[in-house]
Symmetry: C2
Subunit: 348 residues, 2 copies
């Protein structure tokens, strides 16, 4: 048995074994048309026998294509960002790209800039930034980089190409659903001020009420966490019997806290107060009661983002700044309508 090779075989090694030039090997690997079948077979056999793999660095050096994309994200343990990340990677892989991720604890000019540097230093051809906070988008707009950047979740009307779920539409669906169920008005527990998605959801809620000729009640604000929802829920409980019969909560986790606070205050859901959330996290179907919420198509967001980014990389960037919107979907469960899905919406 031959001694184990210290270095992995190169194209030249394969060529020697197959009795051809290294360029012919390159042609076989590159699916070039003008290679005789017999030659191709011989080369493929040599490749197989030697366990040859092309050296990606050498390839990247000469082609100037690393076939790697970057993603910058934060809060990646939350359902939304994690789902987006998953969808992005899957879409990129389908296009033959590798995805390098940087997960930040906080999105600031500094951390973002460092992340882009880190990714750029690794040779990514483009970056998707999951940047749901306005400050992050502003930071992004300031930063210089040598590769195209696409944002996700930064909302419409920003000077950077991006893909978004139509948050306003989602909020209109939820709020409209509550109004249609007979509620005179709908309260709102909003997300953090700096988040574009929070602003859009609040705007959609407000617009729906105003279109129905209803004066929007005061807005409460949380930080997406169940705890902040719980606190807001305690406050909301104080308004029961004084016009509060329905609440649209800006995400499911806060809705969980609201539900608990209401329950502890002796307020029944949905009989006394109806509650709707946003996100459709897997748990929300099992809240007490199961939560009406808005589902987002993350897979579509991933595919569209990657397609847009690749367009920009290939220089196919269309005129103007592309802003793509994806439609969300209302999921009705027992928290807004006692008969929505039988006994607790539980499959039997």
């Amino acid at each position: 048995m031959a001694p184990a090779q210290l270095r992995p075989p190169t194209m030249a090694d394969v060529a020697r074994r197959a009795g051809v030039s290294h360029q012919t090997v390159s042609r076989v690997l590159g699916d070039h048309p003008n290679v005789r079948d017999e030659t191709r077979a011989r080369v493929l056999r040599a490749i197989e026998e030697m366990g040859y793999r092309r050296n990606s660095s050498a390839r990247a050096l000469v082609t100037r294509r690393t076939r790697t994309l970057g993603v910058v994200a934060s809060d990646t343990t939350l359902y939304g960002p994690a789902s987006t990340l998953f969808a992005l990677e899957e879409a990129a892989r389908a296009e033959g790209y590798l995805v390098s991720t940087v997960s930040l604890r906080r999105l600031t000019v500094d951390t973002l800039s460092e992340a882009l540097d880190h990714l750029g230093g690794g040779g990514v051809e483009g970056v998707v930034a999951i940047a749901p906070q306005r400050s992050a988008v502003e930071a992004l707009a300031e930063l210089r980089h040598r590769f195209p950047v696409v944002t996700v979740g930064s909302g419409p009307g920003v000077g950077i190409p991006g893909v978004n779920v139509d948050q306003q539409l989602g909020a209109r669906l939820a709020t409209g659903h509550l109004l249609a169920a007979g509620h005179r008005t709908v309260w709102h527990l909003a997300g953090p001020e700096d988040w574009q998605e929070a602003a859009d959801r609040a705007a959609g809620w407000r617009a729906t009420l105003e279109a129905a000729g209803v004066e929007p009640p005061m807005t409460l604000r949380g930080d997406w966490s169940p705890l902040s929802g719980y606190r807001a829920g305690q406050e909301l409980a104080g308004w029961v019997g004084r016009g509060l019969t329905a609440v649209f909560v800006a995400n499911d986790q806060m809705a969980l806290g609201v539900l608990r606070a209401l329950r502890e205050a002796g307020v029944r859901t949905p009989q006394d107060v109806a509650v709707a959330g946003f996100d459709d996290i897997p748990e929300s179907e099992f809240f007490a009661p199961p939560l009406t919420t808005v589902r987002q198509d993350f897979s579509a967001v991933g595919k569209r983002s990657i397609a847009l980014l690749l367009d920009m990389i290939e220089g196919r960037e269309p005129a103007g700044v592309p802003r793509i919107a994806i439609e969300p979907q209302l999921v009705v469960r027992a928290s807004t309508f006692p008969y929505a899905s039988g006994q607790g919406a539980a499959p039997t």
Copy 2:
């Protein structure tokens, strides 16, 4: 103003501008000691002025180091894998490495093999596989690859280097806590059979009971989802009054389903039945009632995994197959002890 460069500047461009050889530029960038301060400053200025960045592909080609690690994972929207992923990326970045992720919908020999190929084709120097399923680990053991692989979550006693939270210990903590609270026995809702973590948690539960001289009751099994927990909870409700007073559920999501099923059956938690979970997902503090559970230190898992992988890459692989264990921690809340968190205890 000069016309925008088509190609980014190279080391030679910088050298020309600074009036030195390209090698001196390389030395400055490589922090070589023997460069005159004045020269270094001149080079750095030229780099700054031209916005020069080293070409990572060229560097990788000659150094044979891509400074990229790969991660293979599945179920990345779940709290555990997402947290692990986050910790891995953060640890790798601290070491100057880029992390390329492949997120699989299902871990099989084929998908795993494809994922390793994809990562290998991108030139990763090593891979961390988040492979909590036994079948995945077996597949991994079969596969040939040209880079070191470290597993996370595949449990102890596997012939592949890996890092794990001590699941048995976590289960002993939870089960022991319930026994100490006065319960005569503890039931168990286990995770999917194929998951090593599920097996370890079940083993820890069983061992604790046997050590206390208690015959373990029959084991129920779910698939980690709240729905499966709900179904198991309905079955468990039938055993209340016949010796069932405490349940150790293998993860928090299933525990959520159990809580709901018990509540719907008129069984109070924790007065009638105490429930403990595993994972400490952020929501579990806001379940009804707040859930006693076991917290894992994902950050430690990430750091240790990356350190181990880098050791192997550097050829510092120690004798034997390293299996590193991380200690989990019990978090006691109202679901096992009515006075644990005061006003969060039970709906009034």
